[in-house]
């Protein structure tokens, strides 16, 4: 599934369960059908407007890559 980055942030200060992963990038992606989902990025950082592809879901969280 493809989509476009609607907005993004790199998190430096995380909740207990995510402390080992910082810094990590959180995104909202507008999918091709117009729906938006909150997810994460694998690989290099992305910016608003970048085209991304869904790679996998982990624990119900969509992971995208450029």
């Amino acid at each position: 599934m493809k989509g476009e980055i609607y907005t993004e942030t790199v998190i430096h200060s995380a909740p207990e369960a995510f402390v080992s992963e910082v810094p990590y990038q959180l995104v909202i992606v507008t999918l091709e059908d117009g729906h938006r989902v909150t997810g994460r990025i694998l690989g290099g950082r992305v910016s608003i407007g970048d085209a991304v592809t869904l790679v996998e879901e982990r624990n119900g969280v969509p992971f995208f890559t450029r």
Partner: protein, 387 residues
């Protein structure tokens, strides 16, 4: 509906108080408030409590009677309201309706939160419960991250800059330094604000409000009875509470808080005023970007221009329409459940002319805007000097 007046206010200082428990903070603010309103506990018809996460922060539920009985208030309805950071705004809205409808006469509303007894990662986890824990929390979202997502999009759409955000922090710290009850009475410079430790890009530690302990209380009564209690009654001219999606990805446009604009429109209509008539406001600056959205969504400035307007000094203490003369959540502190009522106390102080060094001269009509979560709840209250 009957007209309603604020007849008493009381607050604890906001800060980190390791020796104080939740109940003692709530009781201190309420006792100050009862004294301020010349009301005895047996005259109180109901107790409405705003508290976000007492069960998680301090391990205590059933908080309203736990507090009201300690005040000597017995045999009346005593209930806790929870709407995230708008918990005490929501409690105030319900209390207002109880008095306006004629169901109750003298109602005490208290907001309280005791946050600093938990370590930062646990505080982040508890606060994240005000977002969507399934779709946002599981992805690793924090509360600063949700507002960072909003800030990035606002920057992209409207050209808002890091300097615009920093200007909000610098101004609120300057005001808070004049507030004896503020958590962080410290002036900061633009350079300091820009060089803050990154929390969630583009937000730094200086863009985030404080994790605080504190409580605030107000007493309300029918306007026709206000003179029994105070010679400085302040009328609730307009009040509205509205709601929106909890998760950001469900909103059409995250650069606007729909709940803020809808609550403002209803409150303005009820008060018979427009945004231009508001002379000063306490807005919910949980993050600097939230103050920029607030002044836009309240109609003080056009959408997209809030950052430019702030950097130009239009929200400062001596500007025409000062914003957050208390120092806001940024400097005054943000014990989340206390914030909504604390904002109302700060507006009442200004209208009474009791705001000391931070007193504004155009003080007849003020507004308080209390936001829950990343915009799923908003309570807008318009207060004015009673004729």
């Amino acid at each position: 509906m009957r007209s309603v007046a604020v007849i008493g206010i009381g607050k604890t200082p906001f800060g980190a108080f390791p020796d104080r428990d939740l109940r003692s903070l709530a009781v201190e603010s309420a006792e100050k408030c009862l004294k301020n309103g010349h009301v005895s506990p047996n005259q109180v018809d109901a107790f409405y409590l705003g508290n976000f996460a007492g069960p998680s922060f301090v391990g205590q539920s059933h908080l309203a009677p736990y507090i009201s009985t300690a005040l000597g208030i017995m045999d009346v309805p005593s209930t806790r309201f929870e709407d995230a950071c708008a918990s005490s705004g929501a409690a105030f809205a319900q209390a207002f309706m109880a008095v306006a409808s004629g169901a109750q006469d003298v109602v005490l509303v208290t907001g309280v939160e005791k946050m600093t007894s938990q370590a930062t990662p646990r505080v982040a986890e508890i606060l994240a419960m005000a977002g969507d824990t399934r779709d946002e929390g599981k992805a690793g979202a924090t509360f600063p991250a949700l507002f960072a997502l909003i800030a990035r999009r606002h920057m992209y759409q409207y050209g808002t800059t890091r300097e615009h955000l920093a200007a909000v922090a610098v101004k609120n710290h300057a005001n808070g330094a004049k507030n004896p009850d503020a958590h962080m009475k410290k002036v900061i410079t633009m350079d300091q604000a820009l060089a803050g430790k990154p929390i969630s890009d583009p937000l730094t530690v200086y863009d985030c409000s404080l994790v605080s302990d504190g409580a605030a209380s107000v007493l309300i009564a029918p306007l026709e009875r206000a003179a029994e209690f105070t010679n400085k009654p302040v009328q609730v001219m307009g009040l509205a509470q509205t709601s929106d999606h909890v998760a950001l990805d469900q909103k059409d446009d995250i650069t606007t808080f729909r709940a803020v604009s809808t609550a403002a429109a209803k409150a303005y209509k009820m008060a018979g005023v427009t945004a231009a008539d508001i002379q000063f406001a306490e807005v919910h600056d949980c993050f600097t970007i939230a103050e920029i959205l607030a002044i836009e969504d309240l109609g003080f400035v056009k959408k997209g221009e809030g950052g430019f307007y702030s950097l130009a000094g239009n929200t400062c203490l001596r500007a025409e329409k000062p914003i957050n003369t208390s120092g806001g959540l940024k400097s005054k502190g943000h014990p989340v459940g206390a914030t909504g009522v604390a904002q109302i106390c700060d507006v009442v102080l200004q209208i009474r002319g009791e705001a000391g060094e931070r007193q504004v001269t155009r003080n007849q009509i003020g507004l308080a805007q209390n936001l829950g979560g990343s915009g799923a709840t908003c309570v807008v209250t318009i207060l004015g000097a009673a004729a």
